[in-house]
Structures are given as C-alpha cells and as structure tokens.
Symmetry: C2
Subunit: 252 residues, 2 copies
C-alpha cells in the first residue's frame, strides 16, 4: 500500500540539549545566543534539526559534539575521558511553541565534567555556561549586572525539567560521577551533590555512604591534594549504576 502524504500533517523534528556541568560550586547549563529570529539575540538551549537518516540519539550526540566537542557515552558505553552522559529527557510539541511552524523537539539531557570551553561556531560570545538559577529566573539582573531575558521558546521549561531529572537521578544512580573527571576524590563528588541539590552534606556520613556502597567507587591507589588540606584518595567510577539504598536528599 503506497503511503499517502495527505494522511498526516508534516512536522519538523529537532533535538534540544540540556547540557549540565558543575562550575565553581554551582550547577550550570550551556546556553547559546540566537543569531536569527525568532527570539534573535536571546539565550536558548543548543539544538538543531534531526537529519533524515539519523536516530534521535545520534542527532543529540552530533549536536553535543558540535557545541562542546564532547563525545557522548550512552547507557551501554563505558565511562570515557572527555565524554558526557547523554540520555533522552522528554519531548515538547505544543502547536504554538515555535511561531514559524509545527516543531516537535526531543530534548536530551547531557551531564559533563567541568572544563570544556564553550564553542558555538567558534564564537565564544555566543555560548556560555550559566548557573541554572540565573537562566531560570524571570526578569531581574544577573550576577554581571546584565538584564536577564527569559530563555527562547519553551526552553525554560525544558531546562527546568532537565535540572529536576538530574537532581532526582543522582539520588538513586551513580550518575553524579558524570560531573567528575575520570579520577576524583570523595570530596569532589560530595561537592557535586551539594551543587546539584543546593544543600550542604555531612562529609563524614557522605564518605561512609559512598565508600560503603559496593561498586560505586573503585580506588585508583593515587592521592591528591589539589583541594588543599590532607591528601585525599583518588577514585574512579565503579561498575554499579544503581544505588541501593539510594543517596538521601535532605529535606528542604
């Protein structure tokens, strides 16, 4: 049976990326400045059209590489240097979300360690890491005194959903290690939790919890003193992906 193009309305399909990292004790997201209407000059999440022969996850990985140079590792691939965790987040398809045409956007969530300098088309002024509270706040002024405009399209909602996903997922999975470099200390991992949740955690109980969970951390044998104070043991992420029992997020 030949297919009848008039039987369904045509859609444009895009992927948008919520790329999160932890910088200077704050959860930050990658934002790019729009060069063309609509929302010209406003900040938005990176993203682009899905190509004709691409799977959704491929398109997301391609966009991630284009914007950050990060390679994606999915649920099956092992942790790699200079790699980022990538997973599908949710899909947004309000008929009016793009004034030009009917666009359905499959949002993805990427978690990356700190370091990679933003590069969007080689122009650094058009991409930046910004604290998520700054990107999500409505109106007012940012830390640099620049007036804050809301993100383009429905990207504030997408970012909020991505942040919430990350916050809840580090409770019951070892995903927080995706924010850390290949080797890291217990203290660095704790500061990731503190930045993502916005709370302070007891260093002693945290240490007991993460070192006592089998498969979460494997010691590399080395130590480091890069944080000052007593040298700390170095670990890398273990094979475990699910934490049981989970890490408990303190109330309020």
């Amino acid at each position: 049976m030949p297919y009848d193009p008039s039987a369904f309305p045509p859609f444009a399909v895009t992927v948008d990326l919520v790329v999160l990292t932890v910088r200077r004790h704050a959860l930050c997201a990658l934002a790019v400045r729009r060069g063309e209407p609509p929302f010209q000059g406003r900040w938005a999440l990176p993203g682009g059209f899905v190509r004709d022969d691409e799977d959704l996850s491929q398109a997301a990985a391609r966009e991630l590489a284009e914007e950050t140079g990060l390679r994606a590792y999915g649920p099956a691939a092992p942790d790699q240097d200079n790699g980022a965790h990538l997973e599908q987040l949710a899909t947004y398809g309000d008929p009016k979300r793009d004034p030009r045409m009917r666009v359905v956007s499959v949002a993805h969530l990427a978690l990356a360690p700190d370091l990679p300098a933003p590069r969007a088309g080689g122009d650094a002024s058009n991409a930046r890491w910004a604290p998520v509270e700054e990107l999500l706040q409505q109106g007012g002024y940012g830390r640099d005194g620049e007036p804050v405009a809301p993100l383009a399209f429905d990207h504030a909602q997408i970012l909020a959903d991505g942040v919430e996903r990350a916050r809840s997922k580090i409770e019951y999975s070892s995903l927080a290690t995706a924010f850390c470099p290949a080797e890291f200390t217990v203290g660095e991992l704790r500061r990731v939790y503190e930045a993502v949740w916005g709370v302070a955690l007891d260093p002693r109980n945290f240490h007991r919890k993460v070192t006592g969970t089998p498969g979460f951390l494997v010691p590399t044998g080395g130590t480091t003193t890069r944080q000052g104070g007593r040298p700390a043991q170095l670990f890398r992420a273990g094979g475990a992906t699910l934490l049981n029992p989970p890490m408990l997020r303190p109330e309020v």
Copy 2:
C-alpha cells in the same frame, strides 16, 4: 524571515500508548490488531497521528479515549472515576522503525483500573487485554494455544520501557492507586503491587507501610468484604504523590 520548508526533512509524528491495568493478578496491556500493512494482522500498541492543532498530551488523551473510553487525568488533575493516569513515556525515532516513511512516535504510559472492556472501532476481536509477559515473549504459544507473534514495529521495546517505568514508579510514588477503583482496600492495593512486580509481599508489613505513610491513603469509613474473609476498611487515594521513604521492591 519566511520559513524555508527545504531546510528540514518532514516527519510524521504519532503517539503510541502503553495502557496498563491489573486483571486476574496479572499486569496486562492493551493491544490492538493491525488492519492494514505493514504488520497486517499483528498485534500492536494503540496509537495514531498527532493532528495539526494538538499538543502531544492532547493527542495521547484523545487516542486513549477513542480506544478505551477512559478520560485521562494528568499530573495536575484530581483522581476521577473512570479516569486513567497518563504521562509521557519516551520518544522513538529510528529512521527504519516504520518501513513506509520517517515516523517519530511519542509514546505515552496510561495506568487504568480494571473493568473497561476494550473497544477498537466497535470490534472487540481487534482489541484485547493481554498479560505483558505474553506480549513480550518472543515466539512460542500463548495461554490460549494461539501462536504468539512479536508486536509490530518497535512496540515490544516501547511496551518493555513502559512496564519498567510503571514498576519503578510505584516504588516512590502513590501511582499504584491508579490501578485501583476510587475506593479500595489495603489488600487490593497490595495485590496491585504483587501483580506489577511479580512478587509476594507480606500483608502485615505492607499494611503497616501504606497506612503509616501520611497522605497516601484516607479512610472513607466504609468496609467491604468483596474479597472474602474479614471485612476490610475502604480507602481512597490521599493527596500525597511521592512516597518518602519509598516502598521497597524485594530483591530478585
């Protein structure tokens, strides 16, 4: 700036539904028989094209009503009689998932109480509730001796993802009540958990847990004896949506 249709490839966008219920102590999903190629005669998940002026959740709710007569209540709407919980599950967009054309499907998950007789276009033989293990098993024969063919398209994967979402979500949310009628007993709720997880739970510990979690259940004052044995208190779902601490799923 006028939009350029040649700048992006056109997609068809559909919604597919994983509709789950508990019947006869088994987790069952709604399946419909395909009346046309491809996969003519095979079982598939209900679904259809998203219309030009519809949001994704609207399209999913419409399809759900068409197939089952169930009204959907989302995250914000209160529990209703003859209503079903509906949430977005994930999006599937492999370029080859539909041999006819490029189709991106936004799968949704619906949880409904038992009872509604399937009706797909008024023909009962083209829709049925089937245990999820039966729909997911590869080859072999079903309980009725009929040979089992795999679900059409990638619907086995979608169903598996939906079942896994349901199994994990009743751990930390009060969503299991979506499988129950408006008023239900602790025993009925326990049998929901047992059917979804495929395990046996201790009735005494389960009773202590659910009645001890604030906001999970509110007694209606009535009692019932429809399960035989001593009359049981009737409850309805309370306002709480998140269970803290969660209900623990027994190992293995």
